[in-house]
Subunit: 144 residues, 6 copies
């Protein structure tokens, strides 16, 4: 986890750097609103990535933002096993992420598939998403 | 109430503009963290002021920030009556704001007085503030 | 809509006042983190309520918080028609809110019912909620 | 200005609805983190648009989100006059927005042009942006 | 400290999981508003707990939320010594937490006691809290 | 990095403690809005400092705030080399921070100098800042 506090960077520039960091291989990038000295609203940039990528991600942050330093630290992670199945909805097929860990199993429709079908059929995103959840549940029941 | 969304302004510049607006006569100025399009973290600037000052405050916002427009609207206000009394604490006198409204009475130690005594005596701010609250309560009891 | 900025109130006291305002008949009460002068993090309290209740809600805010004034303004509202139906899930019945407006129809499981069944059966909230969504969809299909 | 509080909507769905509202002609769409009853973190959705578009934008919000109501109110706006000029940087041309209002004149490089050149030349966004600011200043000086 | 970023979870579900985690023995649970890719407002869930409870708390997070992974790390803590004393206010007894550390001593009225008396006497929370602070100060003075 | 969650501290007191911590030698102090149990909005205080100063900074936090404990952990840092140069603008000299790291070089006008000149000449902060950026770029070009 790499962090930097940014109080002399514009929001425009931050949107740009998020894209650059994700393209460069960061697992995840997020912004937290913070409040710094001298009445300055600021943003804490957090970048999660592979430790092997730390030097490259650090260099990208220093090149693209106004910060003159970053701080970092290794966190451990517990990640569920994942695979994908496809379910049929009235609007077309949707990929479903199946995540498992010590007896827990979660099945979650993929955002991108639901969004694409919603736009194609001019229907609410929620309608496709719920249809996918129904298809997922039926899949669950057939498995039992 | 005047508002502007700022996504291309630095936090440094925002701290500066808060000071300028307060100096120019705004009742209050505050920042709210918001999230705009294209993954841009941004700040909503809100300025409360006398309607007669709206043109001057608007011009100051347009001159000092990167926004190309502001929005505004008149809100009504309900304000308590206020006067000040002085109470004695072990560390010296503290001004107390007394606010009243339809049978409600609140007495609140002034921040600046407590902060100044805390620094003078090298004691926690909390210690002076609580001493002032005690003095306020005793004042309350003598009044009854 | 009634608003007040609070920079000399504790979070404990704010949790308390939210309860009081909801009990007193506010439609909704919410907190927004803001940043005020002198490096003070603060909270904007927003209370939505019936205009007839404004005087009572104002008095409650002035009595329970440290603010010495509130601001207010009337907003218009567009509200969907609502009624409730009950659906059966494997874990028991769940009330479903049905909201309609100009051809839009949304059916949403009630939080409280799902939470209660999740606790009763020692299963995740998500499991009950998704089961209720499935039952809702089947209700939709029967209607067509 | 149209607002809705959303405590039963996912962040994924909110990213989707922001795109839909901008496509439908909203001037601006932004999210503010708020805190609602029952320990629920939530998002306030704010949509700025032409009053003539209010009915259409309201219907889109009700269709795409889980809210059962929106609130709205007309704000006045003060907007600077705008036109565009083109400046030459070492990396290519950049459009510059020139905004004027009662003697104030601001010239701001367009984000999209700077971002595109930064990606083309594999250089930091900041480098292009500052080069554009320099070109803008030189334009200012020639004007005098 | 266990953390997870949640962009596909509703606020309703998050209020529920906070209760579950506190019931399961977490020291503390809190939410931080963050901003993730694709214009998604999200919540960072942070859980503080005994390292021995980490596996159980992790499993609860994975079961109750939509995240497919958590990250964690051990932090050191410096905690003040605590004991409770009871003080008398005009409204009844209030427990006071006394915390000490290397010559620092803080005495803080318990929230729950103040809230309960405020409701019982139909008086502001602030009134009871300040009365308890006064009683605490008097306790301080008797000690000297 | 030292952190404490504060739900029974006022914003006034927090502005005071930020000043105290910076005076005591902290590298940086910032506030993050968080949401704690029982509907309490709260602030996470983060203090960055030299590990040798940890005991002193911890004691200051415990003395000045209402928290009964802090948590801490050591982070590694990557910091750019820095030196200052002076550039001439039409309004006077401005110090420019030059930061370098593995081939990256950034030159950033000092906030305090720009703010002072803006106030002296009654011109927008942005005007001085951009003039300093232009002077910085010209310096860059002369260097090549």
């Amino acid at each position: 986890m790499i962090e930097a506090n940014l109080d002399d960077q514009t929001g425009e520039g931050l949107g740009y750097v998020m894209d650059q960091l994700l393209t460069a291989g960061a697992y995840d990038v997020f912004f937290t609103p913070i409040q710094m000295k001298k009445n300055r609203p600021a943003i804490k940039l957090t970048v999660l990535g592979n430790p092997q990528e730390r030097a490259a991600l650090t260099k990208l942050i220093l090149a693209e933002t106004t910060t003159i330093g970053v701080r970092y630290q290794t966190w451990q992670r517990t990640i569920m096993q994942r695979h994908f199945v496809t379910v049929a909805t009235p609007y077309g097929n949707v990929q479903v992420k199946v995540a498992t860990y010590e007896g827990i199993e979660k099945r979650m429709p993929e955002y991108a598939d639901c969004a694409q079908l919603a736009q194609q059929f001019h229907i609410p995103f929620r309608t496709v998403y719920q249809a996918a959840l129904v298809a997922v549940e039926q899949l669950n029941n057939e498995d039992d």
